[in-house]
Symmetry: C2
Subunit: 594 residues, 2 copies
């Protein structure tokens, strides 16, 4: 099987969840039209199928490793990257003043999905470079922008994010990497960073490390953290490359998946200090880093969609090929392709429905980011920024939890062959498992949603969002299309569950935060269930209005989701409002190590 | 962390779900008393912690491989096995007339759990040997029993199950391995079997392969299949070992997990035919194989419990050790162990609750097997056999689906460290992933439950079981213990959902089988949710009656399950009764390969 970009599904999600034509009409997606978007998606799909997908298994098998101080990537990896950059793909979402194409987030999101579907371990590199570009562009001095952005935008250099230290993962306030200011305005960085994806390699001639560090005598916790850009190779005044900077990879992790992505231990300043340049103000580094992290979180959500898509395509291909057993309709003594079995169809439709729901939520988030950055009206920008802030943790966590589930179902569809590594189904499960962890664990996303995002504008933002979900249900009801009434009832019940849980948790955040925290994970799940169902229904409505044969797929998918996923909403609402008590009452010895 | 057998949890499940004291009183567990059981569990736990657990990671890292035609096991593996057999553990569940200890299934189930928790890849070997003993003991001639059983019971030889062929996995009727009868009463076997766990090794001096094969000119499908025992080394008349039989390992699979368990391709008869001995009657092999498979299915369910336990212990240990962030109660600027965070507690309690529920269901199934084999009253035996038949697919599939989920949560609790192989959390996820696949995929279990088990005695068996669940809820209500009313309401709703779905699916099996098949997987899930909740409540009742400090754990666990897992039941019931329509209506092109 060759990977095929799901151009129709992507187009439908862009049209409905991302409201692409509205973005085009309103001038937010300036210079873009549907034909251009379709052409980009088609081309990306072609490149991904031809260049990225064939190296996915190679990357998994060979992995990245540290040999004689150098990070070795799998065979063909550097060439693949260079072809990708040469195709202009690195520049696609980047600012035009530094050589980028300035395309909106909805398009880069779709294209990122395609890269990640074909080769997740590859896609992580560009995702981090995009994050670095974002931060430098947003907050660095013009001089630094000139120094770094043209090379990063063209893909000649790569970027990394250096947050985690051995004792400081989720809790960044605890980090200890030091930055000592020098007379000439630079800083000397020293310390150890771990879990640095693409932390070192020779795929690009230079690497821009974005590094969180602490100045001497700064306040404890997060208020004392600054952000620096630290090039792997120092840059001369004329822009040419100079000496090696004092940052080295001292280890590459042995991981469950994404083997080709080198997860590095980076040691800064072992020989006196790595030269770093401050981005933004001193002690305000975390705020800048959040710019990178929010974009990266949506990017990781999209990786979840991508793994869902890849696992689904593979499972469908196998289910059509593998013959086993008979059905109620098949001729006696003849084995049918297993896709004919209702239980296998349940697995495949579950995979498709969850993937499509996650895609819709991610694309809807990208839409809000575009409006927040590009709308002419400041109020509109602010409103969209809030909406994007609300949806980002859902896009990240719901999509990536589903990715693990979908990849696991994909293994199951393959039966015994799914457990054999050469089949490739297991790689998706192994690769997927990092997604709920990195860029803020899904637990952190849930807590972020509940404690920081729900309270925005005293709850008006989430209220407005739920009102929009309700409007979709009203449209579904009003459509009177066959079977849409049942779908609307299921969606309505899910929305009501979300409303009920939102009110409850919104009060508890203030009055009894531990109860809110105990319900955070099921709340995010419920949020994802309800919004995914609404977006799929919106897509079904749009497809049914086109009134041609293509409608059946999106319509049945939305019905399936409503009848099989949305119906779980009430259970989660009850978990949130009633299930947390036993958790908080549980005696400490239930959690004692044996 | 060292693995610790959860002796208290096991004792509580034996007492409540397995009704051990009742089995002892009624003479079914003859010669056993609680002290003996506790001593066995303690000893097994000690052996597992000292001998099996330390090689779990070694086995994963080194794996099994085929070198110069010989299967190489990890270092120390054979010695570990020999120590285990020398300790008399192989003989524990085996018939006394061949040197076994004849202990009931409830005890061997508890002990099997302990082996699997410490080292899943190891435990698979003994599990298959037990199955082989079962089949030979049940159906072979006395001569064959004498030839094989003493050596298998002592653990000097191992046993395997040879069902699958490349084109015949779930659909055994399609198998092609040939058995040609010879003048001297033996058969010459030829063909290829795949996915044969412990199919070859030098850990034991001989291996007894139980092989399904087809005689010449037999009816097509499952009615033409016979069962043979095929020794790796031929056995002389005096019982000594003779020539090598014509069966060879031609490949060892490269798998996602259980690396130390050699999954072999076995080639029979490349040099004229492997000598095999018929077990039972010609063409009736599948019925005999089902004797092995049913025991093995419960054994796999127990492996699911075991992985749940192992992953939970590891996650709890890490959560107590790793410090990160602060809580609403912690002193400012001080990091707390992550076990203090409500969201982490939700993860840990979920792991504990699902594991305990799965354990209870498996132990309850073992109880029915014991009664079905050992009760003096024939009616009682028949009733218990039906109940065991009903529960076996639930024990297998619910426990193993949960194992994957629990192991995945375990990775999540470890954050970034969970993705690093050296941590060991990821191994549990990789190992667990085979459990929903082997010994009949969980889809097959669900279909078995719905199409073959529900109709037993025109539905009276399942009806009787649900009545028992309802009785537990009534007892919970009647207890008037604090908070038990809420728990009872949640459990009651789950039972009602199960009843409703059972009636619906029971009718559909007759009138519209595709609708029943479409609901099979969620039905099994619902069955597991409801019965697990009832068993945990039963345990909570028993613990609370003891009225000492130890009650809090089981009580809070049951409350947590009721408030967070049982509440999902209604959604699954709705999926079964209403969610299948979209699945059956979905157009074929939604399942077409791209």
């Amino acid at each position: 099987m060759t990977y095929q970009a799901p151009v129709n599904d992507i187009a439908l999600a862009l049209e409905t969840a991302a409201g692409l034509s509205n973005l085009i009409e309103s001038g937010i997606a300036e210079g873009v039209d549907e034909d251009l978007v379709n052409a980009i998606v088609e081309e990306a799909g072609k490149f991904a199928a031809e260049e990225l997908a064939p190296l996915n298994a190679v990357g998994d098998t060979q992995g990245a490793s540290l040999e004689d101080g150098k990070v070795r990537l799998p065979e063909g990896w550097a060439e693949m990257y260079n072809n990708w950059a040469a195709g202009g793909w690195a520049a696609l979402p980047c600012p035009t003043e530094f050589g980028g194409q300035g395309l909106p987030s909805v398009i880069s999101t779709a294209v990122n999905e395609i890269w990640s579907t074909a080769n997740l371990a590859f896609s992580l590199g560009p995702l981090l470079t995009q994050g670095a570009i974002h931060a430098v562009h947003a907050k660095a001095t013009d001089e630094l922008k000139q120094m770094f952005l043209p090379k990063l935008v063209s893909g000649e250099w790569a970027g990394t994010m250096n947050l985690t230290e051995p004792h400081a993962g989720t809790d960044l306030g605890a980090l200890r990497t030091k930055a000592v200011p020098q007379a000439d305005g630079i800083y000397l960085i020293s310390g150890t960073k771990i879990f640095i994806s693409y932390g070192d390699h020779e795929m690009t001639e230079n690497i821009a490390h974005l590094v969180l560090a602490r100045l001497p005598d700064t306040p404890a916790g997060t208020r004392g953290i600054s952000l620096f850009v630290v090039p792997k190779i120092l840059i001369n005044e004329d822009g040419s490359l100079g000496e090696r900077n004092d940052v080295y990879c001292t280890g590459v992790e042995h991981k469950l998946g994404i083997h080709a992505s080198p997860t590095c231990v980076l040691s800064f300043g072992d020989n006196g200090g790595a030269v770093g340049y401050l981005i933004g103000e001193e002690n305000k580094g975390l705020a800048v880093m959040f710019i990178m992290m929010n974009a990266a979180r949506l990017g990781v959500g999209i990786q979840g969609v991508a793994i869902g898509e890849a696992a689904t395509q593979k499972a469908i291909a196998y289910a059509n090929e593998r013959r086993q057993g008979s059905t109620t309709q098949s001729p006696a003594g003849q084995m049918v392709p297993i896709v004919e079995h209702p239980d296998v169809r349940r697995n495949l439709l579950t995979m498709k429905a969850l993937t499509a729901a996650a895609r819709a939520i991610c694309y809807a988030t990208a839409r809000e980011i575009d409006i927040s950055e590009r709308a002419s009206d400041a109020d509109e920008r602010a409103k969209a920024a809030y909406r994007a802030a609300l949806l980002t943790p859902v896009a990240k966590a719901y999509s990536t939890d589903l990715a693990v589930e979908v990849a696991s179902i994909g293994v199951q569809v393959h039966g015994g062959m799914g457990y054999i590594e050469e089949t490739g189904a297991a790689q998706y499960l192994r690769d997927a498992r990092i997604l709920p962890i990195y860029e803020g664990t899904n637990g952190v996303q849930s807590i972020d949603l509940v404690t920081r995002k729900l309270p925005i504008e005293r709850g008006e933002v989430v209220k407005g969002f739920i009102a929009e979900l309700n409007q979709i249900v009203a449209d579904v009801k009003a459509s009177n299309a066959p079977g849409f009434d049942v779908m609307a009832n299921n969606l309505d019940a899910a929305n009501k569950a979300l409303e009920r849980a939102t009110v409850w948790i919104g009060q508890k955040v203030m009055s009894s935060p531990d109860e809110a925290l105990a319900g955070a994970t099921p709340y995010l799940r419920l949020f994802g269930i309800a919004s995914g169902g609404a977006y799929l229904a919106k897509a079904a409505l749009a497809a049914s209005r086109k009134a041609n044969g293509a409608a059946a797929g999106p319509v049945e998918l939305a019905k399936f989701y409503a009848g099989n996923i949305s119906v779980q909403a009430d259970g989660y609402a009850r978990t949130i409002t009633d299930g947390g008590a036993s958790l908080l009452e549980a005696p400490a010895d239930m959690f004692a190590a044996s």
